[in-house]
Amino acid sequence: MNLLDRTRSVLDRARQLYRGTGHEPRLAEMGERLDEPLRVAIAGRVKAGKSTLLNALVADRLAPTDAGECTRIVTWYQDGHTYQVTAHPRGEQPRQLRFHRDAGAIEVDLNGLAPEKVTSLTVTWPSQALRTATLIDTPGIGSLSDQVAGRAFELLAPEDEETPADAVLYLLRHLHRNDLDFLRAFHDTEVSQPNPVNAIGILSRADEIGVGRLDSVASARRIATRMAADPNVRRVVQTVVPVAGLLAETAATLTESEVAQLRKVAELPVREAESLLLSADRFVQQMPELGLTSIEREALLARFGMYGVRLVISMMRHKVATTATELAAELTDRSGISDLREVLSSLFFERRDVLKSRSALLALDRLTRTEPRSGSEAVAAEVEEIIASAHPFRELQVLSAIRAGWVTGKPDVVAELERLIGGAGAATPLRLGLPADADDPTVAAAAGDALARWQRRAENPLTGHELAIAARVAIRSCEGMLAALQERR
């Protein structure tokens, strides 16, 4: 029986046990949630670029963005057949709201509802991107309004309920002490311990790192690599990916007319263009003869940012990309969003079942502990049994132990261990350090080698206690990979 089935069966048992109590809807929801797309929350400090990243991932301008603090209500974006927005007021029935799109962004009419009374909004939108994951946009922490900031905590680390998110993208601008506290709050649970398995760090607004220099993105990549190696970061997120959200969002929605407008600047003599691009104010105010209104220019800046405008013009001038299609591809590439998608798919989507089960089991564990009734110990015991014995969970536990620095050994050995149990992604070739398209015999050979190696390590009396325990998990991972190959044959 696979993990998801085991989870379902224990859920069923719990449902029978709690039939007729007020907890039935909660259990029903847990069951439904198992089959829904993965819920990914986007969290971070104020103005980290959460809504922008969400738009970039959906490749549409859905979430409103602004220079001031913008998102104040937790908003869910999920796939559906119709376009609709639902408000969930505190202590009342959900109600549908009217909305319109303002320059793409969804403007919701709260229809007299006070924003502080609304726990969350749900935006249902037919979208390919939302089919694999439901995205949750959160207000920033460090907000000047304590109430707004509190909402993100409420969502990610609720006091008395399970967290509604299965995984989280955490946006960091530069490392801030508060960021880590926030992540810890999210991970402070029995099964996970401080656990990086369901979080990815994103160095956001990567285009701003060098304050406009064209090598900003390269700089951001270096910084992200450095951050990802920091022990404090490692124990809370799997990795750190640099993303220039604004570039990605704009690339996904680039229009021909915007390109035509920027071409006018690119066609200027170099010196004049340079002088115009010296500052945002100059770009908006100088050279009225250019044939662009200041409103058009402001719109361009809002869409591309100073970095984006300079980058596009430099690319046009050097003929790297000239058409809207070429530019969109080039911008997408430089924004880092494709890398993020890859990382998301290997670290989250391929592990969907585990993350889903994990959420459900956590919720069950909490329910049986806080609302015990006769027979609930048996359910609790079964939950515990799954958590302790299911191999994917053992992997996650060892993974977090490595991340926390509790498993020690030769660096290359620990690195191999981490990869083998899925630290870089759950796919078999990734675990074995092989290219994604490696053929079966190569994979089988590598898995066999790894198995033998880790069996030796597990039995070696000189291997440390912690590493030996971890080695046994690695052995099981290798066996699992070999078994899967066998089945395919």
């Binding site: 002490r177 810890r184 701003e208 945002a280 912690e466």
Partner: protein
């Protein structure tokens, strides 16, 4: 001695210097070298007024770029990732030069090539300071101690006139121990430039920091950087202005672009310079910051002259009284003789001011110590409570940073108590002295503490040399304690560590079946953690306690010396008056008339001097 008509629209420093010079020649003319000493000290600080502007802010907000753009030279290293790790002091010098400053008393200085300073200023290891712990020195530098700062001298007009710009390390999370240290430093500064970039509104922690800094420092300005890069900077500025107003502060916001300014300086482009917003910032620094500081210095120096003039005037007036009416002369002599005894009493240890001082210091010492103990005890209790419910294995890292920043905050509060109480004590002692001296010689007004004396010889760091509050206690505080506090704190953060907590693999691999075993391990770790917290707090109390005691002793010494010297001056003035009055009784009518005429002329000059000095005092 002549008094030139005063010109009104001169620099206050020049005016004050002229008045002080006149006062000095008066002292010389009347043979009062004791009074001259005081004025000489005031003159020294006038010729080298130091005005400290401290640049603070979060990580990566463009502090170093701002400083570079201000002086039009690339002095402070700027990088996308690594950040400033050492405070850099920029001051005026005829030739560019740099020195490393090492901790010590007095601080040790070591010349260094200007081009090499980068290697000292930036962090060795660009790992983020997540817990407020300053990264350990790299191996290359392990043979020698790490400098506490870098001083750079540059021939720049902006810096001439005593301006010192201090670029500080990013506080790495305002609200951390490090930011508390920055706050302590800001209490010693004449002005604070708080740097925040235009990418977003002020955050909660930034706003909290600003509100606190506003109470510690007389002039705070919020500099919004990178306006060239963020199109919406006006909107962000307006939002910030609203936040600042809502927080009840009057802190102005000056938006600037360091990039534009640097280009403008390189290309000598006035328009671009105006676009950069720097002219406004510079005139703010020149007029408000330096203006305020120099006005204060000038008025303090002039107040010294007023006091000196008054002493001599009253001496001459007694003599004149004795000369004018021979019948009353005996009485004047008798009075002055009586006064002499009282002045002697004023000098003695039994005098009330002296009692007040020694009792006050003794009380203060025990109060400050008690306060610190109390604070630390509460921290420990809170830490214990927090640890009851958690497993230190999970929370130790947070615990460490919490503890560091809480302890730093308590230290600052304790230091503020010491500062405020010491200032109050100084005022009380001054008052008692004034009362006693007023009683004995109503005609001699006593000039309350010369704030400038005694401080010029201490050349420590940003805080020490010149001060903003005109109180003797502040002088002592700043040189003895305040100067140290930033370093004490940083020293504590690096020197005293909590150390790791040993972990068993049980934590991570433990099944719930092993709950009892797990509980035992947790309890052991909790005990270990509690002990570590206690050890840390003990060391902090020890260092801090010694520091406070030393400071208070120093304050006591400075105040005692100051008032004893003042009593000595009074004594001398009185003796002179007595001598001249006695002579007056013996002289002939003709001699008397001549002397009275002379005295009248001198008195007119002295009164003019006093008036002129008062004009400077009034600013």
């Amino acid at each position: 001695m002549t008094v030139a008509p005063q010109s009104t629209n001169q620099n206050p420093i020049t005016q004050a210097a002229a008045v002080v010079d006149l006062g000095l020649s008066a002292c010389e003319a009347y043979g009062r070298d004791d009074l001259a000493g005081r004025l000489a000290a005031a003159k020294r600080s006038l010729t080298d007024p130091s005005v400290h502007i401290v640049v603070v802010g979060e990580f990566k907000q463009g502090k170093s770029s701002l400083v570079n753009a201000l002086v039009g030279a690339k002095v402070c290293p700027v990088d996308d990732d690594v950040a400033t790790a050492l405070p850099t002091y920029l001051r005026h010098g005829d030739e560019p030069a740099a020195e490393l400053i090492f901790e010590g008393d007095p601080p040790r200085r070591e010349p260094v090539e200007l081009k090499d300073i980068e290697r000292w200023i930036v962090e060795d290891d660009p790992t983020p300071r997540t817990t407020g712990v300053v990264s350990a020195p790299a191996t290359v530098r392990e043979e020698q101690p790490r400098p506490a700062g870098v001083e750079v001298r540059l021939p720049r007009r902006l810096l001439a006139g005593g301006l010192v710009l201090v670029d500080t390390p990013g506080v790495g999370g305002l609200g951390s121990a490090h930011s508390t240290a920055s706050l302590a430093a800001s209490s010693m500064a004449d002005a604070l430039l708080f740097v925040t970039d235009a990418s977003q509104e002020l955050t909660r922690s930034e706003l909290d920091f600003l509100a606190q800094a506003r109470q510690m420092c007389p002039t705070v300005v919020c500099v919004q950087t990178k306006t060239d890069f963020y199109p919406a900077w006006r909107k962000v500025r307006d939002l910030n202005q609203a936040h600042l107003t809502a927080a009840g502060t009057d802190i102005p916001i000056i938006p600037v672009s360091s990039t534009l300014r640097s280009r403008a300086v390189a290309a000598n482009d006035t328009d671009l310079n105006n676009e950069s917003g720097f002219p406004e910032l510079i005139s703010f620094i020149r007029d408000r910051v330096r203006g305020d500081a120099t006005t204060r210095l000038a008025s303090e120096a002039a107040a010294g002259v007023v006091a000196v003039a008054e002493q001599i005037i009253s001496q001459f007036e007694s003599e004149k009284a004795a000369l004018a009416d021979p019948a009353a002369a005996q009485q004047v002599v008798a009075q002055l003789t009586q006064v002499k005894e009282r002045v002697e009493a004023l000098k003695s240890a039994a005098a009330r001011w002296s009692q007040t001082l020694s009792d006050g210091i003794a009380d203060l010492t025990s109060d400050v110590e008690h306060d610190l103990k109390n604070r630390i005890r509460e921290v420990i209790a809170e830490a214990d409570r927090a640890m009851e419910d958690t497993d230190p294995a999970d929370t130790w890292a947070e615990m460490q940073s919490w503890l560091e920043s809480t302890v730093a905050g308590e230290m600052l509060a304790n230091y503020t108590l010491l500062r405020d109480r010491a200032t109050a004590l100084s005022e009380q002692v001054g008052q008692h002295f004034q009362e006693a001296s007023g009683e004995v010689l109503r005609q001699f007004p006593v000039f309350n503490p010369t704030p400038l004396a005694g401080s010029v010889d201490v050349d420590h760091n940003i805080d020490l040399e010149k001060m903003k509050v005109g109180k003797q206690a502040m002088v002592a505080l700043k040189s003895a304690y305040g100067g140290a506090i930033m370093f004490v704190m940083i020293g504590l953060m690096t020197g005293i560590t909590l150390g790791p907590i040993a972990l068993g693999i049980g934590v991570i691999m433990g099944r719930k079946g092993l709950r009892d075993e797990k509980k035992k391990q947790v309890a052991a770790r909790q005990q270990q953690a509690k002990n570590a917290v206690r050890r840390y707090c003990d060391q902090v109390s020890f260092v801090m306690g010694k520091d406070s005691r030393d400071t208070l002793r120093r304050i006591q010494r400075e105040l005692r010396d100051h008032y004893t010297a003042l009593a000595e001056e009074l004594n001398r003035s009185n003796a002179e008056a007595l001598r001249s009055a006695t002579e007056a009784t013996k002289s002939t009518q003709a001699e008397r008339d001549k002397r009275i005429k002379d005295l009248d002329a001198e008195l007119t000059r002295l009164r003019q001097l006093k008036q002129r000095a008062e004009a400077v005092t009034a600013g």
